[in-house]
Each structure stands twice: as C-alpha cells, then as structure tokens.
Symmetry: C2
Subunit: 477 residues, 2 copies
C-alpha cells in the first residue's frame, strides 16, 4: 500500500520518514481525493513501525493540510495537496494492473480467462468462413446497433432453456461495455447504487466514473446481508440499482440461496429499483445444480441481465448481451450507438452460425468437464496448506476465494509469490476501501492440472518465505 | 419540427390549437429541457399560420409555465412541465434516425458508407485465415487494451507517410468510440467545448452526454470563422477542446486552408487547449491535393488525432485509432479498458496482416478512382437543377452539401423524397439548434453511377412536388 520503506538505521526520526513518505505519495498523485489512508494498525504492520510512529506522522500530515480526520472513521486524503490531474484518474484497483499483467513467465492463477487450448478454433474457423461465403460484404457493412437479428433470436432461444423468456436482447462488445451502458443509462452524478462486498472492481470503477456513490453491502455465504440491505433501502433514497453476481460470484464463488434471490427481487419491486444481474458463469456448474437466474422470475421487468461469452466461450471475441426490461430497450440502443455504433459484424455472425449449429452446447459440456477436474485438483492442493481456508466451496465457477491469516498483507504476499513464479489476485482488488484484506482469489481458468500443481508448490514456497520473514515458525516444512 | 397540424376548418381558434399542440409535445417529452422552440417566423412557416397566431400561442405557453423567453434570443422549453425521464434522453438529431434507417427500398444518398461491392473481400478473407492459422487461440484471447502491438507499429509507419511522426497509437472500435473516450478523458460536467457549425451530430451528442456545453463557431469556406473563434477564446474560460474535421469536413466537404489550420494550432498552443482532429477522409482526394493534417505540425502535442477505417476500408470492421499527445496516452488506455477491455483480436490482427502486405494502398487507389467518377456524375446531376447550389466543390470526400431555397423545410422535403424513392440527410441533422436549415447532404458513397442518375430523377420529382405544393411554378418542367 505505502510504496516507501522506513530505514531504522537512518539518522532522522521514524515518524518524520513516515510523514515524508506519505507526503511524497500524495504530492505525486498516488492517492485519490478523499481516499482513506491505512488505519493506524494496518499502517504500522505495513511499514513495520510502532503505532505511535504512525499516529505522530498522521498528526503532522493533518496539520500540514495533507489529510483530514473523521472521528471514528479514519484519515482521508485532502484535495488541496493533490497534483492537478485530468478528469479521469487511473484507479490502482481497477483490476487492469493485475489481470492484464504480462505474466508469461509465471504460472497465472490471477486471470479468470479460459486457456486458449479450450477454444473451439476449428469449428469457429469453419463458422467464420461459412458466413463470409454466405453474407459477403454484408459482414463488413454497418450492423444494426441492437445487434445482428438472427443472433438475438438465437440468444432468446438459448435463454428460454434457462427459463428466461425475453426478446429484448441488446448485443454488446463484452460485459464491460454492458456495464458502461448501464452507467450511462441510469446514473446521474450523485446517484447511489448498491454492490456486493467484495465485488468486481471493473464494474465499480465504471459506475464511479459515471458519477455514482457506491454503497457496499457485505456478502454472506448465501447472498447479501439482507438486514443491512433492508435498512439501507429504508434509509437511503435515490438508489438507482443493485449490481449483483448471484451465481458463482466474482471473486468469492458464492451462489445466492433461492430464498435470498427471491427476497431481493421482492425488495426491488417494492422499492421500484433495477437489479443488474451480471451472469458470466452460471453455465459452469460441476454437479447437477443449474442455478436459478433472477431474470427468470422477473415478473415486473426490473432485472437487467448481462451475459458475457468471455468465460464460457472466448474472451477475445468481445461479445456479450443484455436482456433488458422493455422500458429500457430503446434507450440502450441509443447508448450503444453513441458508444461504438455496433459490435463487429463478423464476430456476431460467426457466433450466430456457431450457436445455431448447436456447437455451443457441446463446448459447454467440454469446459464443464475440464474445469471440474481442475477445480478438484486445486481444491486438494489448497487443503494441503492448513493456514488457508476456502471460504466457499462453490462446485462451480472458475476460482477459489481463500482466507489467509489476518495479519498477512495480501499485496506483500502477492509480490513474494510473483518472484517465486506464481500470480493470483490479492483480496484488496475487490474492495472499495484500502484496508488490509486477508483474502486471495486463485483461479484455475487458464492453467492445466500440471500447472496447478507446480503453481501451488511456488505458492507454498512464497507462503513459507512470508511466514519466515515475520518470524513465524513454518508449519509447512 | 412540430408534429401536429392546424385545422383551419375546426371550431376552435388557431392559436389555441397551436398552444395545445405544443403543450402536448412538451408533456409527451418530445422536447428537451432548455430546447429552443422554432422562431416565430419558422413556426409560422412550419404550421402555415400567421405570425400573430404563433405569438399568441407562445404567450399562453409562457403564462402556463411551459416555456420561458429570453429577449433577443427566443423561447425555451421549461423543465417543470417535461415528463420524468431516464437520464439518457434520446436525441432526435443524433443521426441514428436517419443514417441507420432500413433503406433497402430506396436509393440511399443518406449514408456515407462505401457500398459493399468496394470491400476487398477476397484479400481480407485470406488475411483472416492467415492469422487464424498463424496465431491460433491467441486471436481469441484477451488483447492488449492499447491495441495489437504490430498493428500499432504498422499504423505509425502509415502515418509517417502523411508526415505524422508518433508512436502513441491507441486502437479503438471505430471513431465513435474514440469520441466517447475523448469525452470521458477530458470533459467534466459544465466544461465547454468548441465545434464547427454544422458538424457531425454523433460527436456533439456524445460530448453533451458527457456533460459538455457546446459552443458552435460557424464554418466558412476555408475553415472556422477565426474572428469569432478568437473572441470566444478570449471571452470563455474552461474551454476543454476544439473538435474539428479539417479535411473533407462532414457534412460540408470543406477543407480548411493551410493558413487557418496553422492559425488554429497556434491558438490552441497559446490557450493550452486540445484539438480533436477527426480525420476519416483525407485519403479520399481526387486530384493531386493531399491535404495537410494538423497532427503533422503538432509540435507541442496538443492534437488528438482520430482516424476511422470505416470510410476508407470497411465500417463493419469497427476499427479506428487515436494518435495521442503523450500526456494522454496512459489515461486513454484506462478509459478504453473501462469501455470494452479491448477491440476484437481477430479484426485487429487480420487488418494488420492486410496493411502489412501493402494491400491498403492498392485499395485506396481503387476507391479514389471509383469515388472520383461518382463525384463527377453527381456534380453534373446537381448542377442540372438550377435551384440547388453546391456550397463547396471539395474535389474529395464522399458528399455534396447543397443549399436549397431559404423557404424550403429540409425535413418536409426529406419526407417527400423518401416517398419518391430517394433518401438524403436534411441539414438540420448537423446543427444544434432546431431552426429551419435550408441545406441537404447528398452522398454518393453507397451508390453506383446508375443509381446516382436514377436517384437524382426521384430527387427532381420530389423537388417539383414540393414546389407544386407551395404553389411555385416549377421551373424544372
């Protein structure tokens, strides 16, 4: 979190070093306006100094106008000393820094992207050439901003097998674009929205850029903390929507219970707010359990359903769709048009051809089989390290959400592990606040069984090194 | 503009009919907040009633709170009586209503999209299959948000031949996305930006949605009215950027003079504001004239250069790029990532293969030849109708900007022409204000020489019908 080190052998006082280190970070623009600094305890762990050193440093920072304090809450970065910046400030936690790393040299448990050997290349190549032959120049003309008609129809059919009856389909260039469109459609600066904590930071950052104030409701093992949600809905007005991933949630893998799903929908109807159901993984179940989609019981047209084909098909295709309440479907077309006119005609048509031939079902069978094996192997490996706790055994999805001991800093651990040759995502990436969060997301989407085993050896080595550095006797040896 | 008719035989007074008609339009949400109503004169022409009728109707509307007046400026729609709406209000002038019409049954002079028989399908199919063979699954994995590296290099090389030296290339999914990204990077609600009048409405709508206040500087035959620009820059603070199409401007076809280009750049340097140079057509010149790009003389890195491949290659590919000032290039990657992660890997790689083989130059030669023939044919046809005036003979680009007689309503004429079997774009599409604007954009991009001739016959018939309706003796027969 803090990017400097305290040198205990240097001549100047430790609290001055801390003061100067944080001052420089603020002046260099490494914080955002109103960003909360580490708590006293977290900062003292992070910099390996006493709490009193941090307290003194924060006091001077406050006097000099670098931060302001809110009693009972913490210290926040003041706007005045931040450098002038463009409107769009890069977010450290937007996910881009981790998941788009060039990780060719390491075993990558960070990415939740299916490895490319799972892509149905030959079939898809056939689909591409078939549509080029069939449609000629039409493929490269302007496409309908709503999406290629026959693809929309095919998707409606696909959804009807999941008991979702709708023909309000909007094709988009990946689920990130769907999120961008939702923000543009619904958020006015100052509006409030509700998200799960933890959640996918790419969504949160996008909603924030659109001007939303984010309210986080903690996620329990069967869904949101419904009491907190209820009291929030009673207290706050102007909630625009609730953003949720109900099935094999990212990053926790949690599936909401049917009871909570239905309760949530009821609340949305009652309060007349939308629910954004981001479903990128409900097809990836390993048992018989085929989880319920909220959209399938959305009698009052309040659910905006988003499905990406990145996880269950191929991410580079950049295809996803939204199933929209009727009242939003026209607005969505306009917003899509203003964003990029339409999605690639070639990709839409080839994917339609591929779906229509039924190939998608064969492909889903294949990936379910492959991923369930990887899931089993990784689960066993994790269980071999007693300090790690799998928070939720999803029997589906593409990752594990692991609790590490409270005192560990997941980012420090990340850096050690990277040097050992394995990458994952530190828990902080999925939270709004910059607290230490003793969680990791470990994905098996992009690695085969051999790589899982090797990666977990590196992981174990990194863990031991971290324990060793902290003077904890390793229980792993 | 007004969507109702005044019935002179009805029992109630005409000004009451006008009052009720406009009242209903406001209550139905057909106007935006603060939208200017037609001037007295324009409204009286539009509804075929006396000016005094309009004056009375507007007076009652004001008393009832439907509009407010600004002396010397006009009447504006008041916010209070508008219906509650979602944040994103569809704009009638966003261009979507015209250019994306299903116009299969008519001869389409509205679209500026090259007809698909010009697409180099066989070559591109070869490129697609070559990269599928060469790169395999890589093609469908996540791509670099900045764009496929070798494509960015190839584009730098391409630009260097236009004397643009830069390697800050950002690949995007079409120029509309570039515009969206510019808005997200630079515009904070309330910021001001400058555009040419007339201009491409898809850009204006996007900038408005991002919160910009639009200042329009009239376009003269050699570029913006520089006096007005200068006084605007002196008067207004917080101008974020100037959006311009300097070469074969849309819709007028105008090329800025080199003098004005250099002047504009100097002003931008002096006032420290960016210039967004939207260049989709500088390759489409018919003589030897290869127009100067502002980016090629941008010594102080203030020009954001946007180039689409929709007009000079194929629109359905959804590929464009931005050449960015260094200080913006990182921000652009983040914004692109939040918009849709990355552009299609298949399209980027195939297009790179195609460019690298030099095919793009052959293609440009072909389209220049084809379009210059169409240009000549259409020019002759237009000149055969004495009431039409070509505003600017560009010897390049894809359309003519035609002045029609002042008293004509370009939208009424559009509707008559559509019934006759020919479509074009009424001038109003390219203006912010809802005044009558006696201009049309007639494009030959998507029609062959035979269609141009037939279409112009329909056009002539529509013109005669309009003249006949107005009781003007047709000079065409």
């Amino acid at each position: 979190m803090y990017d400097f080190k305290v040198d205990k052998k240097a001549g100047n006082k430790l609290y001055i070093q801390v003061f100067e280190g944080i001052k420089k970070m603020i002046e260099d623009g490494k914080f955002e306006r109103d960003q909360r600094l580490l708590t006293i305890r977290a900062a003292s762990l992070n910099l390996s100094v006493n709490s009193s050193t941090i307290v003194k440093a924060y006091d001077i920072l406050e006097k000099e106008g670098y931060l302001y304090k809110i009693v009972g809450s913490g210290c926040y970065v003041a706007a005045e000393k931040l450098p002038e910046k463009f409107h769009f400030e890069e977010e450290e936690d937007s996910g881009i820094n981790y998941s788009q790393l060039d990780l060719e040299e390491v075993i990558n448990f960070a990415s939740a992207t299916p490895s490319s050997e799972l892509f149905p290349l030959e079939d898809f190549k056939y689909a591409i050439n078939s549509v080029l032959e069939r449609d000629g120049g039409e493929v490269f003309s302007y496409q309908d901003p709503k999406g290629y008609g026959p693809l929309r129809e095919e998707i409606s059919r696909y959804l009807s097998e999941k008991n979702i009856k709708t023909d309000n389909i909007q094709i988009v260039s990946g689920s990130q674009q769907a999120i961008d469109i939702v923000g543009k459609m619904l958020i006015k600066p100052g509006d409030k929205i509700i998200v799960e904590g933890p959640t996918y930071s790419g969504a949160v950052t996008s909603f924030k850029k659109a001007g939303a104030h984010i309210i986080t409701i903690p996620l329990e093992k069967d869904g949101m903390d419904m009491k907190k949600l209820k009291s929030t809905l009673e207290k706050e007005r102007e909630i625009k929507f609730i953003y949720t991933m109900m099935n094999y949630h990212n990053p926790t893998g949690i599936c909401w219970s049917e009871t909570k799903k239905k309760k949530l929908l009821k609340m949305a109807f009652k309060n007349n707010i939308f629910i954004v159901e981001d479903d990128c993984m409900s097809e990836i179940y390993y048992g018989d359990y085929n989880p319920l989609s909220l959209k399938s019981i959305d009698e009052k047209e309040k659910v905006i359903y988003i499905k990406s084909f990145s996880k269950i098909f191929m991410p580079g295709l950049r295809l996803a769709f939204m199933a929209l309440p009727k009242e939003l479907s026209e607005t969505a077309v306009s917003v899509k048009y203003m964003a990029d006119i339409s999605s690639s005609g070639l990709n839409q048509r080839a994917f339609h051809y591929y779906m229509k031939k039924g190939c998608i079902y064969r492909h889903l069978d294949l990936i379910r089989k492959t991923f369930s094996q990887r899931y089993a192997v990784m689960k066993e490996e994790i269980k071999n390290i007693p300090q790690l706790k799998i928070v939720y055994e999803a029997e589906g999805g593409l990752f594990f959400w692991i609790k590490i001991p409270e005192w560990m800093d997941s980012e420090k651990f990340y850096n050690i592990a990277l040097k050992k040759g394995v990458a994952f995502l530190p828990g902080r990436v999925f939270y709004q606040k910059n607290d230490l969060s003793p969680y990791l997301r470990i994905s098996f989407a992009g690695v085969d069984e051999g790589e899982i085993k090797t990666g977990m050896i590196y992981f174990r080595e990194a863990f031991e090194e971290y324990l060793g550095k902290r003077g904890v006797k390793s229980p792993l040896v």
